[in-house]
Symmetry: C2
C-alpha cells in the first residue's frame, strides 16, 4: 500500500490568498489494476492561472489542487511506461498517483521530453505547458513579423520569458515589463532589447522611449492599467494576445466585477477593430451581394432623408443623438 499526500483547496479565498486556504490530506492508493502504473512526483508546477480557477469556482472548494507534474514510474502494468521512466502528467499537487492513459484520453501522460544538461523540470516549463502557451499563444495570435516591436508583460515569468525570446528569434524588437530590478537585469541578459520595471513611476515615459516605432504585438499576462498604457502605443493593425489576468486575481468579490481581461482568456474571445477600407479591393463584391439580397426581398434598406443642404449640421447633430433610423442622408435640394 502506498500513501499519497495531496494538497486540497480547503477554504474559499476572499481577496488576498493565504496559506490557510490550503490543506493536505493523505490517502491510501488502491492496488494497481491492468494497465495502471504508479508514479512518485519529482516536480509539480505552480501556475498563476490556478488562482483564477479558484476565484471563479472552476476549481470548487474541497477539490484537490490541479496542475502538471513530472513523476517517476515506481511500478507498472503498462509496457510503454516501465518502472524507472519519468512522465509528465496532470496529477495536481500530490506525492503519488496511479495513472492509466486509457482512462485519461484528453489528458494522457507522456514521457518527459528532457534535454541533456537540463533538469526534468523543463518538462513543466519550456518543454511543457508554459512553453506551448508561449509558442502557440504568441505565434498563432500575434503572428509577429521581422522588425516589429513586441511588448510582453509578466516578462520574467514562465511564459513571458519564453515569449520575449521567441520574438527575438523571429527578428523582433522586444520590450519586457517586469516587477523588480533583478528581473529587469535578467531580461536584458537573455536578449530583451529593453526591460522596464513597471513599479517605477516613469513607466509610461520609459515605455515610450523603448518603443520609438510604437508597438505591433502585445503579449499580455496581467491586464489592468499597464495594459491600457501599452494599448495607447499600439500601431495600426496591432495584435494583442491575452494570456493572463494576474492583476485581477486577488480582487475581492470578483463575481460582481466585470473583468474584460478575464472574460477574454476564459472564453477565448476575439476582438478586432476595423475600418472598412481594408477591403477596398473587394468593394464591388460587397455591393453586388447586398443588391442581390435586396432584390430577393431578404434585406430591407431604410433611409432617413433630411431635406436641404442648409440642414446638414443640424441633421448631423440630430443623427448623433440617434434620431435617424437606417441610413441618414441629406437631400441637397
Amino acid at each position: 500500500m502506498v500513501s499519497a499526500r495531496k494538497w486540497i483547496y480547503a477554504k474559499r479565498a476572499e481577496g488576498e490568498i493565504q496559506e490557510t486556504n490550503f490543506q493536505t490530506v493523505t490517502e491510501e492508493l488502491p492496488a494497481l489494476q491492468d494497465g495502471d502504473f504508479l508514479v512518485e512526483t519529482e516536480y509539480f508546477s505552480l501556475d498563476a492561472g490556478l488562482r483564477g480557477y479558484m476565484q471563479l469556482g472552476i476549481l470548487p472548494v474541497g477539490s484537490p489542487i490541479i496542475g502538471t507534474a513530472v513523476a517517476k514510474v515506481l511500478q507498472s502494468n503498462r509496457a510503454e511506461f516501465p518502472a524507472g521512466v519519468y512522465v509528465c502528467a496532470r496529477i495536481g499537487w500530490c506525492t503519488h498517483a496511479i495513472l492509466n492513459p486509457d482512462k485519461q484520453k484528453d489528458n494522457r501522460p507522456y514521457l518527459v521530453p528532457s534535454l541533456e544538461g537540463h533538469s526534468r523540470a523543463l518538462g513543466l516549463g519550456a518543454l511543457g505547458l508554459s512553453g506551448n502557451t508561449a509558442y502557440f499563444g504568441f505565434l498563432e495570435i500575434c503572428k509577429p513579423r521581422e522588425g516589429e516591436t513586441v511588448v510582453v508583460s509578466g516578462a520574467a515569468g514562465a511564459v513571458g520569458s519564453l515569449v520575449g525570446q521567441i520574438a527575438k528569434i523571429k527578428g523582433c524588437h522586444v520590450v519586457g515589463l517586469a516587477g523588480t530590478e533583478e528581473k529587469v537585469r535578467w531580461l536584458k541578459e537573455i536578449g530583451f532589447d529593453a526591460a522596464i520595471n513597471y513599479r517605477d513611476a516613469s513607466v509610461r515615459e520609459q515605455l515610450a522611449a523603448a518603443t520609438p516605432r510604437g508597438i505591433d504585438c502585445y503579449f499580455d499576462n496581467v491586464g489592468g492599467e499597464l495594459t491600457e498604457m501599452v494599448r495607447e502605443r499600439m500601431n495600426l493593425f496591432g495584435r494583442i494576445s491575452v494570456c493572463g489576468t494576474v492583476s485581477s486575481y486577488n480582487r475581492e468579490q470578483p463575481s460582481l466585477i466585470s473583468d474584460p481581461q478575464r472574460d477574454f482568456v476564459s472564453k477565448q474571445l476575439r476582438q478586432e477593430g476595423f475600418v472598412v477600407f481594408r477591403w477596398l479591393n473587394r468593394w464591388m463584391e460587397g455591393i453586388t451581394q447586398m443588391a442581390e439580397w435586396i432584390k430577393q426581398g431578404k434585406l430591407v434598406a431604410r433611409e432617413t432623408v433630411y431635406e436641404g443642404f442648409d440642414t446638414a449640421p443640424k441633421s448631423f447633430i440630430s443623427m448623433l443623438k440617434g434620431d435617424n433610423v437606417g441610413k441618414a442622408v441629406i437631400k441637397v435640394q
Copy 2:
C-alpha cells in the same frame, strides 16, 4: 462659372457638438480641364464616424467636411461619366464639385449602383459605405455560423440594421439594441428575433432573456457600458467586431482619456484570449520546436525551484506576488 457651396469644420467642438462648429463657404469652380467632369450633389451621407474624425483631429479645423455623395454629372470631358449619369464620390458636404478619376486613384468615383424601385440614396447606404461596413465588418470578423446568437448595438442605424438582417440571412438568432421604442418596433418588423431599448432600466435582464444560449457574435457600434454588459454574456470562442464608438464621441478632452473602443477601431486592433489546450492536437510540435531552440542556444529556460511538498501553498502565494523568475516549480523531495 459654377458656384459651389460647401460645409466647413469651422470651430473646434468641445464636448457636445453644436451647429456653430460648422460654417458654409461658397467658391467659384474653375473651368473643366481634359478628363474632368462637373457634378451636382443629389444626396450626401451623414456618418457618425465623422464626429470621431473631428474629435481626434484627423479632420483639422478649417477643413471641408468629408463624406460620400450621390451626384449628377452636369458637364463632362470624360466618356465613361457622360452628362446625366449619377456617380458615387467622396466629395464631402457640398453642392457641386469637379472630379477627375485620374487624380483620385484610391478614391475613384463610380456609377451609382442603383436598384429599381429604390432611391439613389441607396448608393450611400446598403449599396455603399454602410453596406460594405456591415457586409465585411460582420462576415469577415464575426464569421457567424448558423444557429448562433448575434447581438448588434446601434441596431437601427445605417450599418446595424444591415448587420442584423445579414445575420438572419445566415441563420442566426439576432438581438438588436436601440435607443427608442419606435426603433425597437421597426427592428422586430424587419426580422430581428428580439430588440431591446437600451435606455430601459432592465436592459441587463432583457438581454439575458433574449439570449438564453449566450452570445456568440457581437457587432458593436457604441462601446462603453453596454458593451461590458454584452461581453459578460459572450460564449466560449465568441467574436466581437468593433465598428464604432458612438458612446465616446461627445466626451470632453478626449485626448486625455484612454478609450479602448476608439483605439480598436482607428488602429484596427485585434485582441483574442486563449487557453493553450486549444492546440492540444499540435502539442508535440510546440515542444519539439522549443527543444530545438534551446539546443541551438537561442532560448534560455529558467526555473525557480521551491523545495519541498509542504511549501507548495506558501510558494504559490509567493509566486503570485511575482517572487519567481521563469517557471516556478515545487521539487517534492
